[in-house]
């Protein structure tokens, strides 16, 4: 056995399998017809409104999928949200501008957009020019996007993905142009700026849930239920284990100590 398996990461395997089991449970439950009721995520609902407003004003919608490459999980999540935003702009017939700073993201974004525009029966409205490549450089990209925002005056800016120092450059330019801004990111050190400069922000995990929330696909919603199950289990584990550790320390019973050690070994990173 140990010749083939990495004995050190057994607990990681158990944890990942348990997480997958919880997620699959949620998905199966949803497929069987138990659609979970999902709490309102204000930022997500604001997106649809913002697209509507842009259409009325006849001004474009700007979408930025973060500034990291496709090897960042947030970029992958953002492309999922882009799919839903693309459906909205296609349905409303509203202009969409999507500058990218990585050509892998550019390729993937074009695929996503073409699918969305086709899915709502507007393949004619799709053009590869919606998504453009600017520069791989963080600030070169920000300089150009700020230029685009101050000239094209989009009515809505969606900044969704992994952002770094450029977040405030983009968000301030959008605020000065009077756009409704919805940001979403799991990069926690940029969140205060996005919170300051944008109207709505999807914080951390909300950003990952947004795709499922927007799509209304039962499978995706089901995975939200699975996610909640995992988080509840974490909360219970946190409190339970901390008490266990303290009790074991205070009472010094051998069996309790070895039980505690076992639990901690399961949680060892």
């Amino acid at each position: 056995m140990s010749l083939w398996l990495n004995a050190e990461s057994w607990n990681l395997l158990i944890v990942i399998l348990a997480m997958m089991a919880a997620l699959i449970w949620g998905v199966r439950r949803a497929m069987a017809g138990h659609r979970p009721r999902v709490r309102r995520i204000a930022g997500v609902e604001a997106m649809e409104e913002a697209v509507g407003r842009a259409t009325e004003l006849g001004r474009p919608v700007l979408y930025v999928a973060g500034t990291q490459d496709l090897d960042n999980i947030q970029t992958v999540a953002s492309l999922g949200i882009l799919g839903s935003v693309g459906t909205m702009t296609a349905r409303h017939g509203c202009e969409l501008i999507m500058p990218t700073d990585r050509s892998l993201v550019l390729s993937a974004a074009r695929e996503v957009l073409r699918e969305s525009y086709t899915a709502v029966g507007r393949p004619d409205a799709y053009s590869p020019d919606i998504a453009t490549y600017i520069s791989d450089d963080q600030f070169g990209f920000a300089a150009r996007v700020d230029g685009i925002i101050s000239r094209k005056k989009p009515a809505a800016c969606f900044l969704q993905g992994a952002f770094y120092a450029e977040s405030l450059l983009l968000a301030e330019a959008g605020a000065q142009a009077g756009a409704v801004q919805v940001a979403g990111s799991a990069t926690s050190h940029q969140l205060p700026f996005l919170i300051a400069a944008c109207d709505h922000v999807l914080i951390g995990e909300e950003f990952f849930a947004a795709e499922a929330y927007l799509s209304e696909d039962p499978v995706k919603l089901g995975s939200l239920q699975g996610q909640d199950l995992i988080k509840n289990a974490v909360v219970v584990t946190l409190i339970g284990t901390a008490m266990l550790v303290s009790l074991a320390g205070a009472l010094d019973w051998p069996w309790l100590t070895s039980f505690k050690d076992g639990v901690l070994r399961l949680l060892r990173p």
């Binding site: 963080q138 992994a162 120092a165 605020a175 009077g178 926690s188 050190h189 919170i195 944008c198």
Partner: protein, 300 residues
């Protein structure tokens, strides 16, 4: 409240102040402080001290991996700490092996070579006392490759000298062979990737320096996954002061320490803006009827 009639108008007018006046105020006061550049005394904090102590404990001749993951944009914050730590390593006879996840990192390495090693340690020899492996792309995936085998990504150092001939490596073949990884990180990929992909899977201690903005987030990894952290210019200034206290005879430059003056002025200005902006906001809210809550993007 018995404020004079002019007061509310003034406060409200203050709220509508063109942002360009704020820019100007900041610009002028920073420039003035810079012209005087006073040196602020500093002492190492609980996050800085472990790194200093750990380097003091290493024995001369050991090799450690130093990653320079920053660019000219973040260099003002990161470079002073990279310089200070490099001086500390070299003064103790420890051999730094430089890599970088950022293409601009090679240029940053050049700065260390010309401003630190050639100036303060002219007797040291590249390849023997320190090594420069330089940039490879791939970010986290590069770290992953190094974890298995340095030679998977690096055939030699930046000059083309093969790895086997670099005595500065001290025979290290993979990440776990280094007693310490120090990552100076201006963003992503950087310190976080070194913790996740380098330190955690191999158990090698990781220390690091990051920009001011990264500090609060990295503290969540401290002290288990991250043994010490230099946070922004303040961290660099603290390290410089620790180095000056331990090796007073070397009299190394105090670049970060000199920049703390303008820092303090800027902090005070931003605090002032926070207070004034909110006073004006509260004043306006109390004069208009009902709780008006303008969206943050709505006020200019």
């Amino acid at each position: 409240m018995t404020t004079p009639k002019i007061q509310p108008d003034f406060l409200i007018r203050l709220g509508n102040l063109d942002r360009r006046w704020l820019y100007l105020l900041l610009l002028v006061s920073l420039s003035l402080t810079l012209l005087y550049s006073p040196l602020f005394p500093d002492t190492p904090s609980a996050f800085t001290r472990p790194i200093f102590q750990r380097i003091e404990e290493l024995s001369p001749g050991q090799s450690i991996l130093v990653s320079l993951d920053y660019s000219p944009a973040s260099a003002p914050e990161i470079e002073p700490m990279a310089f200070a730590v490099t001086r500390h390593l070299l003064v103790r006879g420890i051999r730094p092996v430089y890599v970088t996840l950022w293409p601009e990192g090679n240029n940053m390495l050049q700065e260390i070579r010309s401003q630190v090693i050639e100036v303060d340690f002219p007797a040291l020899e590249e390849g023997r006392d320190w090594a420069a492996l330089g940039f490879k792309s791939g970010g986290p995936l590069l770290i992953n490759a190094l974890r298995q085998d340095l030679s998977a990504m690096y055939t030699g150092d930046l000059r083309g000298v093969p790895l086997d001939s670099l005595t500065a490596l001290g025979g290290a073949k993979k990440l776990a062979d280094f007693p310490l990884i120090i990552a100076f990180s201006g963003g992503t990929p950087g310190l976080k990737e070194w913790i996740l992909y380098g330190g955690d899977p191999t158990g090698t201690p990781v220390a690091g320096g990051c920009t001011g903005i990264g500090t609060p987030e990295f503290l969540a990894y401290f002290p288990v996954q991250l043994m010490g952290l230099l946070g922004g210019l303040k961290g660099a200034s603290e390290y410089e002061s620790a180095l000056a206290a331990r090796y007073p005879q070397r009299d190394f430059p105090r670049r970060a320490g000199r920049r703390m003056g303008p820092q303090t002025v800027a902090h005070v200005i931003v605090l002032l803006f926070l207070v004034l902006g909110n006073l004006s906001y509260l004043r306006r809210r109390s004069t208009t009827s009902g709780p008006s809550t303008p969206a943050s993007g709505g006020t200019r």
